[in-house]
Protein backbone atom coordinates (compact mmCIF):
# COMPACT_ATOMS: atom_id res chain seq x y z
CA UNK A 1 0.00 0.00 0.00
CA UNK A 2 2.85 2.37 0.77
CA UNK A 3 4.03 2.16 -2.87
CA UNK A 4 0.64 3.44 -4.02
CA UNK A 5 0.63 6.15 -1.34
CA UNK A 6 4.14 7.24 -2.39
CA UNK A 7 3.09 7.35 -6.03
CA UNK A 8 0.04 9.47 -5.16
CA UNK A 9 2.19 11.85 -3.10
CA UNK A 10 4.71 12.09 -5.94
CA UNK A 11 1.87 12.71 -8.40
CA UNK A 12 0.55 15.63 -6.36
CA UNK A 13 3.64 17.66 -7.19
CA UNK A 14 3.72 16.44 -10.79
CA UNK A 15 0.15 17.28 -11.70
CA UNK A 16 -1.01 20.63 -10.35
CA UNK A 17 -4.19 21.83 -12.02
CA UNK A 18 -4.67 25.55 -11.47
CA UNK A 19 -7.75 27.72 -11.35
CA UNK A 20 -7.27 31.45 -11.70
CA UNK A 21 -9.54 33.98 -9.98
CA UNK A 22 -9.29 37.70 -10.58
CA UNK A 23 -10.55 39.71 -7.59
CA UNK A 24 -10.59 42.91 -9.63
CA UNK A 25 -6.99 43.47 -10.59
CA UNK A 26 -5.81 46.00 -13.20
CA UNK A 27 -5.27 42.99 -15.53
CA UNK A 28 -1.48 43.27 -15.23
CA UNK A 29 -1.14 40.20 -12.98
CA UNK A 30 -3.72 38.29 -15.06
CA UNK A 31 -1.78 38.84 -18.27
CA UNK A 32 1.41 37.63 -16.58
CA UNK A 33 -0.46 34.61 -15.15
CA UNK A 34 -1.88 33.68 -18.54
CA UNK A 35 1.53 34.25 -20.15
CA UNK A 36 2.73 31.34 -18.01
CA UNK A 37 0.33 29.08 -19.94
CA UNK A 38 1.56 30.10 -23.41
CA UNK A 39 4.02 27.97 -25.45
CA UNK A 40 6.87 30.34 -24.44
CA UNK A 41 6.83 29.18 -20.79
CA UNK A 42 4.90 25.94 -21.53
CA UNK A 43 3.96 24.95 -17.99
CA UNK A 44 2.33 21.77 -19.28
CA UNK A 45 5.89 20.40 -19.06
CA UNK A 46 5.30 20.29 -15.30
CA UNK A 47 1.78 18.90 -15.72
CA UNK A 48 0.18 22.26 -14.97
CA UNK A 49 -3.21 22.70 -16.65
CA UNK A 50 -5.52 25.70 -16.39
CA UNK A 51 -8.87 24.08 -15.64
CA UNK A 52 -11.35 26.90 -14.97
CA UNK A 53 -13.32 24.65 -12.61
CA UNK A 54 -12.57 24.79 -8.87
CA UNK A 55 -13.82 21.21 -8.40
CA UNK A 56 -10.94 19.91 -10.54
CA UNK A 57 -8.28 22.32 -9.32
CA UNK A 58 -5.38 21.87 -6.86
CA UNK A 59 -3.96 25.38 -6.83
CA UNK A 60 -5.96 28.61 -6.63
CA UNK A 61 -4.20 31.63 -8.10
CA UNK A 62 -5.70 34.90 -6.88
CA UNK A 63 -4.86 38.30 -8.32
CA UNK A 64 -6.15 41.75 -7.40
CA UNK A 65 -7.57 43.45 -4.33
CA UNK A 66 -10.29 41.62 -2.43
CA UNK A 67 -13.32 43.85 -1.91
CA UNK A 68 -16.51 43.39 0.08
CA UNK A 69 -18.48 42.34 -2.98
CA UNK A 70 -16.19 39.59 -4.27
CA UNK A 71 -14.85 38.18 -0.98
CA UNK A 72 -17.87 35.82 -0.86
CA UNK A 73 -17.13 34.59 -4.38
CA UNK A 74 -13.48 34.03 -3.45
CA UNK A 75 -14.52 32.08 -0.35
CA UNK A 76 -17.00 29.97 -2.31
CA UNK A 77 -14.40 29.07 -4.95
CA UNK A 78 -11.94 28.13 -2.19
CA UNK A 79 -14.52 25.94 -0.45
CA UNK A 80 -15.46 24.17 -3.70
CA UNK A 81 -11.89 22.90 -4.16
CA UNK A 82 -11.34 19.43 -2.70
CA UNK A 83 -8.40 18.89 -0.32
CA UNK A 84 -5.42 18.96 -0.59
CA UNK A 85 -5.27 22.43 -2.08
CA UNK A 86 -2.96 25.45 -2.12
CA UNK A 87 -3.62 29.16 -2.54
CA UNK A 88 -1.15 31.48 -4.24
CA UNK A 89 -1.70 35.23 -3.88
CA UNK A 90 -0.19 37.11 -6.82
CA UNK A 91 0.92 40.72 -6.99
CA UNK A 92 1.02 43.64 -4.58
CA UNK A 93 -2.80 43.92 -4.57
CA UNK A 94 -3.30 40.23 -3.78
CA UNK A 95 -0.73 40.40 -0.98
CA UNK A 96 -1.97 43.47 0.88
CA UNK A 97 -4.42 45.43 -1.23
CA UNK A 98 -1.53 47.37 -2.76
CA UNK A 99 -2.14 51.04 -3.46
CA UNK A 100 -5.88 50.42 -3.05
CA UNK A 101 -5.63 49.13 0.52
CA UNK A 102 -7.19 52.25 2.08
CA UNK A 103 -10.14 52.41 -0.32
CA UNK A 104 -13.56 52.18 1.36
CA UNK A 105 -14.57 49.05 -0.56
CA UNK A 106 -11.30 47.13 -0.18
CA UNK A 107 -10.89 44.37 2.40
CA UNK A 108 -7.14 44.09 1.81
CA UNK A 109 -5.05 41.07 0.89
CA UNK A 110 -6.36 37.64 -0.07
CA UNK A 111 -5.33 36.29 3.35
CA UNK A 112 -8.06 38.34 5.02
CA UNK A 113 -10.63 35.98 3.49
CA UNK A 114 -8.94 32.61 2.86
CA UNK A 115 -5.68 31.09 4.15
CA UNK A 116 -2.84 31.80 1.72
CA UNK A 117 0.09 29.40 1.26
CA UNK A 118 2.40 31.37 -0.99
CA UNK A 119 2.84 35.08 -1.64
CA UNK A 120 4.25 36.16 -5.00
CA UNK A 121 5.22 39.84 -4.75
CA UNK A 122 5.53 42.24 -7.68
CA UNK A 123 3.49 44.75 -9.62
CA UNK A 124 3.08 42.66 -11.69
CA UNK A 125 5.30 39.65 -10.83
CA UNK A 126 7.31 38.01 -13.62
CA UNK A 127 5.92 34.74 -15.05
CA UNK A 128 9.00 32.94 -13.67
CA UNK A 129 8.08 34.17 -10.17
CA UNK A 130 4.52 32.87 -10.59
CA UNK A 131 5.81 29.42 -11.66
CA UNK A 132 8.12 29.46 -8.60
CA UNK A 133 5.13 30.34 -6.41
CA UNK A 134 3.05 27.44 -7.75
CA UNK A 135 5.96 25.02 -7.23
CA UNK A 136 6.45 26.22 -3.64
CA UNK A 137 2.71 25.86 -2.98
CA UNK A 138 2.83 22.29 -4.26
CA UNK A 139 5.77 21.38 -2.06
CA UNK A 140 3.79 22.74 0.85
CA UNK A 141 0.69 20.70 0.20
CA UNK A 142 2.67 17.55 -0.50
CA UNK A 143 4.40 18.06 2.88
CA UNK A 144 0.99 18.57 4.51
CA UNK A 145 -0.30 15.37 2.92
CA UNK A 146 2.73 13.46 4.26
CA UNK A 147 1.86 14.80 7.70
CA UNK A 148 5.06 16.80 8.06
CA UNK A 149 5.52 20.00 10.02
CA UNK A 150 4.88 22.88 7.62
CA UNK A 151 5.92 25.66 9.97
CA UNK A 152 8.98 26.34 7.81
CA UNK A 153 6.52 27.56 5.18
CA UNK A 154 4.58 29.62 7.77
CA UNK A 155 2.51 32.37 6.23
CA UNK A 156 3.39 35.95 6.90
CA UNK A 157 0.08 36.96 8.40
CA UNK A 158 -2.31 34.50 10.07
CA UNK A 159 -5.74 33.99 8.60
CA UNK A 160 -8.14 36.22 10.53
CA UNK A 161 -11.74 35.23 9.93
CA UNK A 162 -13.10 37.61 12.58
CA UNK A 163 -11.57 40.62 10.90
CA UNK A 164 -13.01 39.58 7.53
CA UNK A 165 -16.48 39.18 9.07
CA UNK A 166 -16.28 42.59 10.71
CA UNK A 167 -15.42 44.00 7.32
CA UNK A 168 -18.58 42.46 5.89
CA UNK A 169 -20.64 44.12 8.64
CA UNK A 170 -19.00 47.48 7.93
CA UNK A 171 -20.05 47.48 4.30
CA UNK A 172 -23.65 46.88 5.29
CA UNK A 173 -23.68 49.84 7.66
CA UNK A 174 -22.06 52.02 5.02
CA UNK A 175 -24.73 50.97 2.55
CA UNK A 176 -27.52 51.87 5.01
CA UNK A 177 -25.95 55.24 5.72
CA UNK A 178 -25.74 55.97 2.02
CA UNK A 179 -29.31 54.82 1.45
Amino acid sequence: MSIIKDFINKSRIKSPWIVHFDCGSCNGCDIETLAVLTPLYDVERFGIINVGNPKHADVLLVTGTVNYRNQHVLKTIYEQMPHPKAVVAIGACGLSGGVFRDCYNVVGGVDRVIPVDVYVPGCPPKPEAIIDGVVLGLEKFAAKARGEDVSRFETRRPFDKKQADQGAVNVQTTATQEG
Binding site: I8, S15, E44, G47, N53, K55, D58, P82
Partner: protein, 284 residues
Protein backbone atom coordinates in the same frame (compact mmCIF):
# COMPACT_ATOMS: atom_id res chain seq x y z
CA UNK B 1 -9.24 -23.14 -23.31
CA UNK B 2 -10.27 -21.79 -19.89
CA UNK B 3 -6.72 -20.59 -19.21
CA UNK B 4 -6.77 -18.79 -22.55
CA UNK B 5 -10.05 -17.05 -21.66
CA UNK B 6 -8.70 -16.01 -18.25
CA UNK B 7 -5.60 -14.58 -19.91
CA UNK B 8 -7.71 -12.64 -22.42
CA UNK B 9 -9.85 -11.19 -19.59
CA UNK B 10 -6.65 -10.28 -17.71
CA UNK B 11 -5.28 -8.51 -20.82
CA UNK B 12 -8.58 -6.67 -21.25
CA UNK B 13 -8.80 -5.63 -17.60
CA UNK B 14 -5.21 -4.62 -16.84
CA UNK B 15 -3.23 -4.08 -20.05
CA UNK B 16 -5.97 -2.04 -21.74
CA UNK B 17 -6.00 0.90 -19.25
CA UNK B 18 -2.17 0.99 -19.23
CA UNK B 19 -2.19 1.14 -23.03
CA UNK B 20 -4.98 3.75 -22.96
CA UNK B 21 -3.03 5.92 -20.50
CA UNK B 22 0.15 5.67 -22.57
CA UNK B 23 -1.80 6.59 -25.72
CA UNK B 24 -3.24 9.62 -23.87
CA UNK B 25 0.28 10.62 -22.76
CA UNK B 26 1.66 10.19 -26.27
CA UNK B 27 -1.28 12.21 -27.58
CA UNK B 28 -0.46 15.12 -25.26
CA UNK B 29 3.22 15.00 -26.21
CA UNK B 30 2.58 14.92 -29.95
CA UNK B 31 0.01 17.72 -29.57
CA UNK B 32 2.62 19.79 -27.71
CA UNK B 33 5.19 19.17 -30.47
CA UNK B 34 2.63 20.22 -33.09
CA UNK B 35 2.17 23.47 -31.14
CA UNK B 36 5.98 23.84 -30.86
CA UNK B 37 5.98 23.19 -27.13
CA UNK B 38 7.92 20.58 -25.21
CA UNK B 39 4.94 18.88 -23.59
CA UNK B 40 4.40 16.89 -20.40
CA UNK B 41 6.12 13.58 -19.55
CA UNK B 42 4.73 10.44 -21.20
CA UNK B 43 3.36 9.21 -17.86
CA UNK B 44 1.48 12.46 -17.17
CA UNK B 45 -2.03 10.89 -17.44
CA UNK B 46 -1.05 8.37 -14.72
CA UNK B 47 0.18 11.17 -12.46
CA UNK B 48 -3.10 13.02 -13.04
CA UNK B 49 -5.22 10.00 -12.16
CA UNK B 50 -3.11 9.10 -9.10
CA UNK B 51 -3.39 12.66 -7.84
CA UNK B 52 -7.15 12.70 -8.38
CA UNK B 53 -7.49 9.39 -6.50
CA UNK B 54 -5.66 10.96 -3.54
CA UNK B 55 -8.02 13.93 -3.33
CA UNK B 56 -10.92 14.45 -0.97
CA UNK B 57 -14.18 13.04 -2.32
CA UNK B 58 -16.72 15.84 -2.70
CA UNK B 59 -19.97 14.54 -4.13
CA UNK B 60 -23.17 16.29 -5.12
CA UNK B 61 -25.36 13.20 -4.61
CA UNK B 62 -24.88 9.45 -4.32
CA UNK B 63 -26.49 8.82 -7.74
CA UNK B 64 -23.52 10.61 -9.29
CA UNK B 65 -21.08 8.17 -7.67
CA UNK B 66 -23.15 5.22 -8.91
CA UNK B 67 -23.15 6.67 -12.44
CA UNK B 68 -19.35 7.12 -12.42
CA UNK B 69 -18.88 3.46 -11.45
CA UNK B 70 -21.44 2.29 -14.04
CA UNK B 71 -19.65 4.29 -16.76
CA UNK B 72 -16.42 2.53 -15.80
CA UNK B 73 -18.17 -0.84 -15.70
CA UNK B 74 -19.68 -0.31 -19.17
CA UNK B 75 -16.32 0.65 -20.64
CA UNK B 76 -14.46 -2.23 -18.94
CA UNK B 77 -17.08 -4.81 -19.94
CA UNK B 78 -17.05 -3.75 -23.58
CA UNK B 79 -13.23 -3.93 -23.71
CA UNK B 80 -13.29 -7.38 -22.07
CA UNK B 81 -15.92 -8.48 -24.61
CA UNK B 82 -13.64 -7.20 -27.38
CA UNK B 83 -10.68 -9.20 -26.07
CA UNK B 84 -12.88 -12.30 -25.57
CA UNK B 85 -13.74 -11.94 -29.30
CA UNK B 86 -17.41 -11.80 -28.51
CA UNK B 87 -20.37 -10.46 -30.47
CA UNK B 88 -20.01 -6.96 -31.97
CA UNK B 89 -23.66 -6.08 -31.31
CA UNK B 90 -23.44 -7.09 -27.64
CA UNK B 91 -20.28 -5.00 -27.30
CA UNK B 92 -22.08 -2.08 -28.96
CA UNK B 93 -25.03 -2.20 -26.54
CA UNK B 94 -22.80 -2.51 -23.46
CA UNK B 95 -20.70 0.52 -24.45
CA UNK B 96 -23.89 2.50 -25.23
CA UNK B 97 -25.20 1.83 -21.70
CA UNK B 98 -21.85 2.93 -20.23
CA UNK B 99 -21.91 6.14 -22.29
CA UNK B 100 -25.48 6.89 -21.19
CA UNK B 101 -24.59 6.54 -17.50
CA UNK B 102 -22.07 9.36 -17.89
CA UNK B 103 -24.94 11.53 -19.17
CA UNK B 104 -27.17 10.45 -16.24
CA UNK B 105 -24.39 11.36 -13.81
CA UNK B 106 -24.01 14.82 -15.32
CA UNK B 107 -27.81 15.30 -15.39
CA UNK B 108 -28.13 14.41 -11.68
CA UNK B 109 -26.43 17.67 -10.66
CA UNK B 110 -28.35 20.94 -11.06
CA UNK B 111 -25.30 22.83 -12.34
CA UNK B 112 -25.91 24.57 -15.69
CA UNK B 113 -22.46 23.61 -17.05
CA UNK B 114 -23.08 19.98 -16.20
CA UNK B 115 -26.57 20.11 -17.76
CA UNK B 116 -25.35 21.71 -20.99
CA UNK B 117 -22.51 19.19 -21.13
CA UNK B 118 -24.98 16.33 -20.65
CA UNK B 119 -27.23 17.58 -23.47
CA UNK B 120 -24.26 17.92 -25.79
CA UNK B 121 -22.98 14.48 -24.85
CA UNK B 122 -26.43 13.11 -25.78
CA UNK B 123 -26.16 14.85 -29.17
CA UNK B 124 -22.74 13.27 -29.67
CA UNK B 125 -24.07 9.82 -28.79
CA UNK B 126 -26.94 10.46 -31.21
CA UNK B 127 -24.41 11.33 -33.93
CA UNK B 128 -22.04 8.36 -33.61
CA UNK B 129 -24.29 5.44 -32.60
CA UNK B 130 -26.05 5.03 -36.01
CA UNK B 131 -22.68 5.24 -37.76
CA UNK B 132 -21.20 2.58 -35.50
CA UNK B 133 -24.19 0.26 -36.19
CA UNK B 134 -23.76 0.82 -39.96
CA UNK B 135 -20.06 -0.08 -39.69
CA UNK B 136 -21.01 -3.30 -37.86
CA UNK B 137 -23.60 -4.07 -40.56
CA UNK B 138 -20.89 -3.53 -43.18
CA UNK B 139 -18.57 -5.93 -41.33
CA UNK B 140 -21.43 -8.46 -41.21
CA UNK B 141 -22.06 -8.15 -44.95
CA UNK B 142 -18.34 -8.58 -45.70
CA UNK B 143 -17.63 -11.51 -43.39
CA UNK B 144 -21.05 -13.06 -42.72
CA UNK B 145 -20.80 -12.79 -38.93
CA UNK B 146 -21.04 -10.36 -36.01
CA UNK B 147 -18.77 -12.65 -33.96
CA UNK B 148 -15.25 -11.13 -33.66
CA UNK B 149 -13.61 -14.57 -33.50
CA UNK B 150 -15.11 -15.36 -36.93
CA UNK B 151 -14.30 -11.94 -38.34
CA UNK B 152 -10.65 -12.57 -37.40
CA UNK B 153 -10.62 -15.74 -39.55
CA UNK B 154 -11.42 -13.65 -42.65
CA UNK B 155 -8.39 -14.10 -44.92
CA UNK B 156 -8.39 -10.63 -46.52
CA UNK B 157 -8.09 -7.28 -44.68
CA UNK B 158 -11.54 -5.74 -44.26
CA UNK B 159 -10.16 -2.33 -45.27
CA UNK B 160 -10.18 -3.32 -48.96
CA UNK B 161 -13.87 -4.17 -48.84
CA UNK B 162 -14.96 -1.39 -46.48
CA UNK B 163 -12.78 1.66 -47.23
CA UNK B 164 -15.65 4.15 -46.95
CA UNK B 165 -16.96 2.55 -43.76
CA UNK B 166 -13.47 2.92 -42.29
CA UNK B 167 -13.75 6.69 -42.81
CA UNK B 168 -17.18 6.53 -41.14
CA UNK B 169 -15.58 4.71 -38.18
CA UNK B 170 -13.00 7.52 -38.12
CA UNK B 171 -15.83 10.04 -37.55
CA UNK B 172 -17.22 7.89 -34.72
CA UNK B 173 -13.69 7.65 -33.26
CA UNK B 174 -13.22 11.44 -33.27
CA UNK B 175 -16.59 12.00 -31.59
CA UNK B 176 -15.96 9.24 -29.04
CA UNK B 177 -12.51 10.61 -28.15
CA UNK B 178 -14.07 14.10 -27.87
CA UNK B 179 -11.53 15.70 -30.17
CA UNK B 180 -11.95 18.83 -32.29
CA UNK B 181 -14.13 19.56 -34.22
CA UNK B 182 -16.42 17.36 -32.09
CA UNK B 183 -15.34 18.36 -28.55
CA UNK B 184 -18.73 19.73 -27.49
CA UNK B 185 -19.47 17.98 -24.21
CA UNK B 186 -15.99 18.20 -22.71
CA UNK B 187 -12.41 18.35 -23.85
CA UNK B 188 -9.01 17.87 -22.36
CA UNK B 189 -8.15 21.53 -22.76
CA UNK B 190 -11.33 22.73 -21.00
CA UNK B 191 -12.12 25.79 -23.04
CA UNK B 192 -13.46 28.44 -20.71
CA UNK B 193 -16.95 28.82 -22.15
CA UNK B 194 -17.75 25.18 -21.40
CA UNK B 195 -15.65 24.82 -18.24
CA UNK B 196 -15.60 21.01 -18.32
CA UNK B 197 -19.10 20.24 -19.57
CA UNK B 198 -20.19 16.74 -18.72
CA UNK B 199 -17.44 16.22 -16.10
CA UNK B 200 -17.95 19.59 -14.34
CA UNK B 201 -19.60 18.15 -11.25
CA UNK B 202 -17.33 15.12 -10.93
CA UNK B 203 -14.30 15.74 -8.76
CA UNK B 204 -11.44 13.91 -7.08
CA UNK B 205 -11.62 10.10 -7.21
CA UNK B 206 -14.77 10.09 -9.36
CA UNK B 207 -13.10 12.21 -12.02
CA UNK B 208 -10.23 9.70 -11.89
CA UNK B 209 -12.72 6.87 -12.52
CA UNK B 210 -14.12 8.71 -15.54
CA UNK B 211 -10.60 9.30 -16.85
CA UNK B 212 -9.75 5.59 -16.54
CA UNK B 213 -13.06 4.68 -18.24
CA UNK B 214 -12.08 7.02 -21.07
CA UNK B 215 -8.80 5.11 -21.50
CA UNK B 216 -10.79 1.88 -21.81
CA UNK B 217 -13.04 3.54 -24.42
CA UNK B 218 -9.99 4.67 -26.40
CA UNK B 219 -8.71 1.08 -26.46
CA UNK B 220 -12.17 -0.16 -27.47
CA UNK B 221 -12.48 2.16 -30.46
CA UNK B 222 -8.87 1.54 -31.52
CA UNK B 223 -9.61 -2.20 -31.25
CA UNK B 224 -12.47 -1.71 -33.70
CA UNK B 225 -10.07 0.16 -36.01
CA UNK B 226 -7.60 -2.76 -35.73
CA UNK B 227 -10.32 -5.18 -36.92
CA UNK B 228 -9.99 -3.59 -40.37
CA UNK B 229 -6.51 -5.09 -40.84
CA UNK B 230 -6.63 -8.12 -38.59
CA UNK B 231 -4.71 -10.40 -40.98
CA UNK B 232 -1.21 -9.15 -40.17
CA UNK B 233 0.22 -7.63 -37.00
CA UNK B 234 2.27 -5.01 -38.87
CA UNK B 235 -0.71 -3.95 -40.96
CA UNK B 236 -2.75 -3.60 -37.78
CA UNK B 237 -0.04 -1.51 -36.07
CA UNK B 238 0.45 0.71 -39.14
CA UNK B 239 -3.31 1.25 -39.40
CA UNK B 240 -3.61 2.12 -35.69
CA UNK B 241 -0.65 4.50 -35.70
CA UNK B 242 -1.76 6.17 -38.94
CA UNK B 243 -5.35 6.60 -37.75
CA UNK B 244 -4.37 7.98 -34.36
CA UNK B 245 -1.77 10.37 -35.78
CA UNK B 246 -4.37 11.68 -38.25
CA UNK B 247 -6.74 12.06 -35.30
CA UNK B 248 -4.21 14.23 -33.41
CA UNK B 249 -3.56 16.32 -36.53
CA UNK B 250 -7.29 16.89 -37.05
CA UNK B 251 -7.65 17.77 -33.34
CA UNK B 252 -4.97 20.43 -33.70
CA UNK B 253 -6.03 21.93 -37.02
CA UNK B 254 -9.81 22.06 -36.56
CA UNK B 255 -11.91 24.54 -34.60
CA UNK B 256 -14.98 23.48 -32.67
CA UNK B 257 -18.19 24.09 -34.63
CA UNK B 258 -21.79 23.85 -33.43
CA UNK B 259 -23.60 20.64 -32.49
CA UNK B 260 -26.18 21.35 -35.23
CA UNK B 261 -23.36 21.31 -37.76
CA UNK B 262 -22.09 18.06 -36.25
CA UNK B 263 -25.47 16.31 -36.46
CA UNK B 264 -26.21 17.33 -40.06
CA UNK B 265 -22.65 16.94 -41.35
CA UNK B 266 -21.84 13.65 -39.65
CA UNK B 267 -25.20 12.10 -40.51
CA UNK B 268 -25.17 13.24 -44.17
CA UNK B 269 -21.52 12.34 -44.84
CA UNK B 270 -21.70 9.18 -42.71
CA UNK B 271 -24.94 7.93 -44.25
CA UNK B 272 -23.87 8.67 -47.85
CA UNK B 273 -20.50 6.94 -47.37
CA UNK B 274 -22.14 3.98 -45.59
CA UNK B 275 -24.87 3.54 -48.22
CA UNK B 276 -22.31 3.75 -51.04
CA UNK B 277 -20.08 1.16 -49.41
CA UNK B 278 -22.97 -1.13 -48.42
CA UNK B 279 -24.56 -1.08 -51.89
CA UNK B 280 -21.16 -1.75 -53.48
CA UNK B 281 -20.71 -4.71 -51.11
CA UNK B 282 -24.23 -5.95 -51.93
CA UNK B 283 -23.64 -5.67 -55.69
CA UNK B 284 -20.24 -7.39 -55.72
Amino acid sequence: MLAQYIMLVFVGLLIAPVAGGLIAGLDRRVTARVQSRFGPPLLQPFYDVAKLLGKESMIVNSWQVFCAYMYLLGAVLSVVLLFLQSDLLLLFFVQAIGALFLVFGAMSAPSPYSQVGAQRELMQILAYEPLLILVFVGIYLATGSFQISEILTHEQPLLFKLPLLFIVLGYALTIKLRKSPFDFSTSHHAHQELVKGVTTEFSGPYLAIIEVAHWYETVLVLGLVALFWSTSLWGMLALLLGTYFLEILIDNTMARLTWRWMLSYVWIVGLVLSVLNLSWLYAS
